[in-house]
Subunit: 256 residues, 3 copies
């Protein structure tokens, strides 16, 4: 009921893998490459051109790559010049500007706004309405919750652009601001509405404005279980590569 | 000028009431039921299918009900499996995921993102860009202002999902975070950018991160009138069922 | 690749200047006037009608004016009754409700939500996801960063509507709330996630909830340069009218 090949535009220079489905009212523009079994839903624009397109006669749209087995939900805009891995999924109305490099198994939630020129590793989940400024670096297994912002201009407005860096397994709760250039270690947990202006060591729980470390996450006791939930990969494996294996065995198997 | 029956898709299994208007570029998908006199504007998707649709051969779209006399503004996405009352209205680009139960006379503002599996009573107004996580419960006459988030995971990421509960007449100002499982009483007023982690009794004004009760709302003096504005239903009746009757008489008439 | 004249609707009463381009799936509705060389991208609605359109037989769409040399990116909705200057640009999915007056050389970022009935001067840049409530007044050369909200109801819900006023050159960082009726002077700098409830004098840096002045911005020392970045027009001129001239000379030339 959604794939009626109705009002679809696919550029002659786009390359679609086997079994790719394209929703109604979607445009797939020049030099887009889409992997096998990927689904692009209704009203999307894939390969949105750069500004130059509007003003230059000799504009050539940079190549855009979306991996296999991905699901791009409706009204999503993905600019040209992005390289995105396999098993990627988006919510609705996601905007991804140019020159992102996004790994495998990532999920980008409804209304999230990625400003381009950033790197995201594997198995990252960005929930709804996350804003990632340019020059951000996000590791693997990082989860980011709604209305969180990665900033990059230390003296607005300036021409300096230094984005935050977030290491593996870190969790950033709702409404957080990461200030320009901050570095968060592994397994950090940032509390709701914190403003993080200083680098944070591994395993720290940080809260407040300005955010301060208050505890090692491994000391946090869950009201539900009476034990610590952290490091979370021991207690959560849905969609993760250590599913049904356990973190320790998976790490051994992969020499991590 | 908006209803030209241009590029409209209506599923054969959809049921439209009398005098329903459907905007250009809108799709009304399988098993959607729309009440009399309802207007669906341009570029909407009503009855958006569940994930299974993309991967299962035998997928059957759950029934979606939108009541009568409603106005769904452009670019709104309403998933299948929702039951929505009469006199409903949305702003633009609203996303409502599956299995919400929404009462009569509710308004959901532009860009709001309802994650499904939640209950909203009658006469609730959610302004722009409100994010309601799964398993939330919202009473009647509750107003929620922009960039407020209802969260539900006490130890992110976990498989626990316990949403907040908000009772009748409560007002939640801009940029507020309700932490998982909190309960707000009746006539509560939550100040801008508060983070609410503890249950709040009726009539409390709460502010801060973490939010603390600071006053009974009935003691708040309005700069404009020199009297208390609260309980607000004595001083605001636009669109409310006690309009032109007054709260007391309306309550008597309705045994409340 | 984007201007295929595919599924475009242009009202007979719309007036398009020379060399205007209109993207696929875009509707330009009654009484819209668009200046020369302006580009309207895909899936936009320009001249979105007021509520009365849906319920009144004699509805006449108020005139909408968008100046010359502007770029409206995809999925943007601009209501009727707006007067917008030249060299205007929007990101994607911007919503601009009725009766705004917006000057020349303004930029409104992706997902920003302007609620109408407000005034914005020249050379203002609103980044992504800025929410401007009704009855706001914004001067010239004002920059506003993501998830900032201009509020207007001092006792929610009431029928009072008094928006904030922001004077020239002021910078408002991410996640800020301006409370109803506050006045910010010239060259103010508001820190991330501040809640501003009191009027702020020229050149103040304000931070916190509630926001308090902490310093004169001219005393802030840049880590990068060892000197103050403020007043910023001495150190930033991209897209500004003093570009390549310098602020002082430009002010002399313009008697400012």
């Amino acid at each position: 009921m959604k794939f009626n090949n109705h009002n679809v535009y696919i550029s002659p220079s786009a390359t679609l893998g086997k079994n790719v489905k394209v929703g109604d009212n979607t445009s797939i523009l020049d030099n887009v490459v889409i992997g096998d079994n990927t689904i692009i839903c209704n009203n999307c624009i894939i390969g949105e051109p750069l500004n130059d397109f509007y003003y230059s006669e000799n504009y050539n749209n940079p190549e855009t790559i979306i991996g296999s087995d991905s699901l791009i939900r409706s009204h999503t805009i993905i600019y040209c010049g992005n390289i995105i891995g396999n098993n990627f999924s988006t919510g609705h109305r996601v905007t991804i500007r140019e020159k992102m490099k996004i790994g495998n198994h990532c999920r980008i939630g409804t209304l999230s706004d990625l400003q381009g020129f950033s790197v995201i590793g594997d198995y990252c989940w960005l929930h709804s309405n996350v804003h990632i400024g340019q020059q951000s670096k996000i590791g693997n297994y990082v989860f980011i919750y709604p209305f969180t912002v990665f900033t990059n201009d230390p003296h607005p407005p300036s021409n300096i652009c230094i984005g935050p860096t977030v290491d593996d397994y870190t969790q950033i709760a709702v409404g957080v601001v990461l200030l320009p250039g901050v570095k968060l270690g592994k397994h950090v947990l940032v509390g709701a509405q914190s403003v993080v202006g200083k680098d944070i060591a591994d395993y720290q729980l940080v809260v407040g404005n300005p955010a301060k470390p208050v505890k090692d996450v491994r000391e946090l006791i869950s009201r539900e279980t009476g034990k610590s939930h952290y490091p979370w990969p021991y207690n959560f494996d849905r969609g993760m590569p250590w599913k049904d294996i356990g973190l320790d065995k998976w790490q051994q198997m992969n020499n991590k």
